[in-house]
Symmetry: C2
Subunit: 420 residues, 2 copies
């Protein structure tokens, strides 16, 4: 189970620390900070995200937490593999084996422009992503595990015979190595992946120990998990090595009404006029802000038709049929990026149990609203009581707590890339 | 005055923290971590350096210190300006205005190979360096100082009219921007420069507030400082805006004999056989390890001749003439990278006063050996008593404590680079 923090001020490290410490109190396996190298929200109307470099935030958290995993996104498209390898390995050493890298390609032309570039064609972008991940993993393994002696009195710091260049040359990028950093307590950082499509799936199947997925329904999730397992098999791996983490946004309150009120408050920082129009498009009606505090009329309900282009449309219409005002329909999270449960701690735990027992996911990526203590103090104990969640961390490293397979350097089961 | 830390284990953040806290107790203005993106020492025989990414180390220190400036090197040759700008600005925000960037080009072919590249011709490398620094500074200034509103209740996080792309296009690199990070308490990080030559000097003259210099004598230092001031003038700046920090390696002990013994101990971790041969080359004699514990013979002294190719040769011969064994001649630091004073706290303070009053430097970059507490507790009080060093920090930011000029975004006195 992983938490994705939200913070009112993205520049206040104390908020991130409080958040991480709360998650750790709840034995949450990892904290994940999404990232993209561009200012991609209109700060006139939207809360900021992706501001301070996430590797630096996680470095802060590494020193002020002890067990929770620390995972963030970095682009394979616009960062040099040597720099990626060095910074993630440094975080892994500083956190004593708790770092993870969500290796993703970048698609936003505005992000490319920040590097004076354009987005390459999809096939080329993923070809580079394979090279970058392989070079990074090879650099991580460029010290044999027992190379680091640190025998200051005997004047031998390392056995240089056990520290070798990687000499990898791809079509798009290359690196000689070695990296100047010894292994961490978990050897090297754990790889995550996000974003679907056949290219993304192949990447996940080959390298990832955890995958961020965005299913809206149990059926959708079961299919995604099956397809992901097949991709792992094609790469010669055991499907169990790749954990699918389903995105999930709970809002916890003493009652469903109170939870909806809480979500209405959160919705006030987003552009509701735009959202109500989008809701209309989802259910085939021309809706506008004037109707925000009214439910759908009988005539509208008769005309409504869920859009086949948005997997969330059926649920949106089902909630609207219950008679809620449009503001409250939206407060149910019907057009949010992940499934929303606005309810009691038991409602949230029930939803998680239902998905998990249906084999819809291996775990969750939970975007908790600012009331993260509620999740930790109310939902976690229920899950523990039901035997669905561990009572304590399995060990000090992310690899142990995620149940990820052992890996140091490149995966020997994969085709070795061309050496120079 | 700045400290450059040495650490037995470069992976132990607690050591760096203790070091930084000691320096801060001594009101040292800044901590500097040198870096180069390659494993460039033979760890079989030499203590490691440049291991963990220094931006991550400084992030750790930012949270565990309050006033000391945090400066590190990053290459303009092999890092994208957007990434540089974002990470240094992030450090500046996390440290509440204490970050500095030592902007240098990279010359080591092995470092280039880590990026699948070769070292470009000198002129091209510096042309890119100018572009990178200008793009980084422009990105830092891409938020007007009052753009950040953070009015969560009024639902306005920033005034987007005051956050604009920079749209800079150079010959070697480019960036659109804006950066997603608001100004820090000092606006933006302070620029440092290191490494001489006419190209490096022009870079320092145009952009730097602090310059790391490596003079061996007062005369050499005076000349370097004059030349640096002239470079600042040519760029339309006041020479006082560019502080020259002279490298200096003190070893402090109750007596000169005890200080030499301490240095002999430190020398044991280096390859003395190589050093004694190098000493021979400096003074025109074929010396070898067999003579390590003997002084030069009368015949050798008669034949000795300082090499004109090494500015340290005169002092090396002068120390040898005093009759020390070759091991002790080396312990005097005659072939170290910076001037060495091995003596009492008063000896060290005297040396610093002499250089400072001769106008040889504006401050020092002090590579203290592991006994940094000695410098803080013994030398600093003498310098304070003599009125040569401040009793406390001038303010919370590096810019204040260095006496650096105000700057936000590009320096308007410099020629504006071509916009897209």
């Amino acid at each position: 189970m992983g938490f994705s923090p939200r913070s009112g001020s993205q520049t206040d490290m104390d908020q991130f620390v409080r958040y991480a410490q709360a998650a750790e109190r709840g034995k949450v396996q990892l904290l994940f900070i999404a990232d993209t190298p561009v200012l991609d929200v209109d700060l006139d109307h939207h809360a900021p995200h992706h501001m301070v470099d996430p590797l630096l935030i996680l470095t802060v958290l590494a020193r002020e937490t002890e067990r929770i995993g620390l995972v963030t996104t970095a682009s394979t498209t616009f960062t040099e593999p040597y720099n990626l390898a060095r910074q993630f390995k440094a975080l892994d050493v500083i956190s004593h084996g708790r770092a993870g890298w969500n290796a993703v390609t970048t698609s936003d032309p505005a992000a490319a422009a920040n590097f004076g570039a354009t987005i390459p064609p999809r096939a080329e972008k993923y070809e580079r992503a394979h090279e970058v991940i392989q070079i990074v993993q090879a650099l991580w393994g460029s010290w044999e595990k027992d190379a680091w002696l640190l025998d200051v009195n005997g004047k031998r710091f390392a056995d240089m015979d056990k520290i070798q260049p990687v000499n990898l040359q791809g079509k798009h990028t290359a690196s000689r190595g070695p990296l100047p950093i010894p292994p961490s307590e978990q050897g090297q950082p754990v790889i995550f992946q996000a974003g679907g499509g056949s290219y993304g799936l192949e990447l996940a199947g080959r390298y990832a120990s955890g995958v961020y997925a965005n299913p809206y329904t149990i059926e959708d999730a079961q299919t995604q998990r099956q397809v992901l397992g097949d991709a792992a098999k094609r790469a010669g791996r055991d499907p169990d090595e790749v954990k699918m983490l389903a995105g999930f946004m709970p809002t916890i309150a003493p009652s469903r009404q109170a939870a909806l009120q809480r979500r209405r408050f959160l919705d006030e920082v987003v552009d509701l006029n735009q959202r109500v129009r989008y809701l209309g498009a989802m259910i085939g009606l021309p809706l506008g802000p004037a109707q925000l505090d009214e439910p759908l009329t009988a005539d509208q309900l008769a005309d409504a038709k869920p859009s086949p282009h948005d997997p969330r449309s059926d649920r949106a219409l089902a909630v609207a049929r219950e008679g809620w005002t449009l503001r409250d329909v939206l407060a149910h999270g019907v057009i949010d990026y992940h499934p929303v449960v606005a309810g009691t701690a038991t409602d949230v735990a029930d939803h998680m149990q239902q998905w998990f027992e249906a084999g819809a996911c291996d775990g969750y990526s939970i975007a908790v609203d600012s009331y993260h203590d509620g999740f930790v103090d109310q939902v976690v104990p229920i899950l523990q009581e039901r035997g669905l969640f561990h009572d304590d961390y399995e060990g000090p490293t992310l690899r142990e707590n995620l149940g990820a397979h052992e890996q140091y350097g490149l995966d020997p089961r994969l085709t070795t890339p061309a050496r120079q």
